[in-house]
Symmetry: C2
Subunit: 190 residues, 2 copies
């Protein structure tokens, strides 16, 4: 009889993080993650194809939020203003769970080449999602690609600042500031 | 008795590409690649840790060329001018082998998620190499990151144009044009 598992995904992510921290990524099996989360192995596989994907959880949701925000920006918004709307949409959906997870997630990723690779791919995937949403607005390919790169960089910076122990600012504000800073920075490229 | 293998690396890349095209990436074993190249399995492993890495061959060399070109740029060069010098250095080292490989490489990469992932990581690695070389020149982190992203995009575009069947232009010229176009494009971001 399948148990009610409204938060199975979050519990699996938290359990995986704990185990990866305690005993290392390579030494942790899917069965252990499921057990620690109080779930079955088959529940794990309903949520993730393998243990690597646990730490890239959120990529699809984040991609959709970015894209939705970009699509919903007003028709006359510049590419970067549309990107800002995407960041805002994503920032608004982040919870305390995401904030508490951040530092532990980074610590675990730093221990494994495989996880660093997956993390790099996550960035690429997020940029692709933004690029697609911008193209759908009629933004030329190259401009869309560049605006998306700036968007991903801004979100990454803002997220790192948000999860810092002493931070008091909202993620949305941090993202806006980071994007503005990047916008200024392009003038220094020469 | 080890055989003389001056071009073992290139032969392994060419053999892997052939086999991946003929029978698919998943269905090809390291032993087959070595055999097709007329080499042993242990020679393969002296050059590559696994079959995935064969198609990312050149990342280290390309990284070093980018970084060397950036380091050698004149002290007063702007970040993007330094990046242009890096692209030029890399372009100058590309051979007919690279040019002939390009289209087949892209076709094979398109058939496998694993290879697409490796290719995305290659881009990330190249950007990191350029970022590092720019930082070593005293370029601020964020400016270095952006300039490097533009550099990788420009090289990717230029390479795609270079290996096109009807292309008559030099890779170095194509890279310069692509970087100039990106430089202009950043002003259109809004």
């Amino acid at each position: 009889m399948p148990r009610w598992e409204p938060d199975a995904r979050e519990r699996l992510v938290a359990a995986a993080l704990q185990l990866f921290s305690e005993q290392g990524y390579d030494n942790t099996a899917v069965a252990e993650i499921a057990e620690r989360a109080g779930l079955t192995r088959s529940t794990f596989f309903r949520h993730f194809p393998d243990k690597r994907e646990v730490l890239a959880a959120g990529q699809e949701i984040l991609s959709r939020l970015f894209a939705d925000g970009i699509s919903a920006a007003s028709a006359d918004a510049t590419p970067l203003t549309a990107v800002a709307a995407g960041l805002e949409r994503a920032a608004g959906a982040m919870t305390l769970f995401n904030r508490e997870l951040g530092p532990r997630l980074h610590a675990v990723i730093a221990t494994s080449t495989e996880l660093q690779e997956r993390d790099a791919l996550k960035q690429v995937g997020l940029a692709a999602a933004m690029t697609g949403a911008l193209r759908a607005r009629g933004v030329p390919d190259l401009v869309a690609t560049l605006a998306a790169e700036l968007g991903v960089l801004a979100f990454k910076e803002a997220y790192a600042a948000w999860v810092a122990a002493d931070n008091q600012q909202e993620l949305g504000d941090l993202a806006r500031t980071a994007l503005d800073r990047l916008r200024t920075t392009v003038t220094e490229l020469g």
